[in-house]
Symmetry: C2
Subunit: 217 residues, 2 copies
DNA sequence: ACTATTTTTTAGGTAAGTCTAAAAAATATA
DNA sequence: TATATTTTTTAGACTTACCTAAAAAATAGT
């Protein structure tokens, strides 16, 4: 149905529309896809013809119900493969994203159901991101980056941003993994750095780090 | 280096050149790729430019050392994935080929080494085909289809042809799997059908079946 | 309200991989 | 050897996904 490229565009549109209720704009999508606005306009016409998005000229695009379902299937595959790579093959969590970007396009409903079963029907991927079930149902929890939390807050790490490999390496080093207890010990107004208690260790982290550690809101 | 399409052409050329020492002809390749001769001519120019084959106009192509190595890596991936699907995910051996055709193009040296380790460094895939090692070394045993064997021969099934899903379903039903003992009980000259002893059962099989069951020559 | 700037779309073009139809080369036949 | 047939290549065209440059629409500034 959708080509590999179309799947990637649709996934990007879905992610950009998460949270915000506004339409996804051409330039934002071009930025996300590392491509040019003209290419985006070409592609959104195709996706619109395939009825996975609605498109109004100059006003951006919205994902349809059909499109959301297809996007969630790609995301399901991505996160199941990441889980496989970490849990079964022993990959580090900072090594899986690029490979999962390829594996998410393998087309075989049977494969993904068998993989899900093999992994024990995981609810979240190695970075704490929820895995949509076979019907496309996803548990959306509002997550808050810890840089926005007050001093004294304590809870558990729910997820981390999985975009940057070097960030993930550092988060792993300080023990900031999903499920780990975390407490905000202090905040520095000047540079928005903070001191946290994690894994029974006091750690100072900059905002560049703290905005990538998420707790349930 | 090579695109998905180029990988598929190269693999087909490699398979067509196996056994025979002659150059692979345009029409044979077109047939194997389910495409037209004109498309093949275009592609072999590209593969020749990338030095994975040598090409002489009107006389066909040959795989270079570099090309053989690249083809064997694709075949290695295909067979490791088939083994994963059967051994770990519980696929039947007639269900894996199409999915492996997709998975063989995933590009990640680390992934394939980890997968090999996870599977316990298998020597053959579910159909008995040898899996090239990480250096591209493959154990080539001369295999003979049992329709060419004399009455009275006994040995073990080494491999089966994995091309047709319905054939594989039937072979599985009569128990013709790699490693199973087999004996030729009788041959009928008229239609080249034969009676074999397999799995302690006498089975009559037509040539269409017997030419797809292979033993070590 | 009228420019100026930014954003988006359109126009036209490229590369990969495919096709059909026609030309060229190789092979088979008489 | 000359002709007929088969095989292969070339020519020209289509689709997908991309690009640059120019036009059009929307937004911002005065
Ligand atoms: Mn990821
Ligand atoms: Mn992830
Ligand atoms: Mn196969
Ligand atoms: Mn096989």
């Amino acid at each position: 149905m959708l080509s590999l490229t179309e799947e990637n565009y649709l996934k990007a549109i879905y992610h950009l529309s998460e949270g915000g209720s506004k339409a996804v704009l051409t330039n934002a999508l071009a930025e996300a896809m590392s491509t040019k606005a003209a290419s985006v306009t070409d592609m959104i016409k195709k996706l619109s013809a395939k009825e996975v998005i609605t498109y109004e000229k100059y006003y951006g695009v919205n994902v349809t119900a059909k499109g959301k379902s297809e996007a969630l299937m790609v995301i399901r595959k991505h996160r199941l493969w990441e889980t496989f790579l970490v849990d079964k093959l022993g990959f580090a969590w900072d090594e899986v994203h690029e490979v999962a970007e390829q594996l998410e396009h393998i087309s075989s409903p049977r494969l993904i159901e068998k993989l899900d079963e093999f992994l024990g029907y995981p609810k979240v991927d190695p970075h704490g991101d929820p895995i949509p079930d076979s019907k496309g149902k996803i548990k959306v929890q509002p997550l808050i980056p810890i840089d926005q939390l007050p001093v004294g807050f304590h809870g558990k790490v729910a997820a981390v941003k999985d975009s940057d490999s070097n960030l993930l390496k550092y988060l792993d080093k300080i023990g900031a993994r999903p499920g780990i207890k975390i407490k905000v010990l202090g905040k520095e107004e000047y540079d928005e750095s903070m001191e946290i208690l994690i894994n029974d260790h006091r750690v100072f982290i900059s905002k560049a780090v703290s905005q990538n550690i998420l707790v349930v809101g």
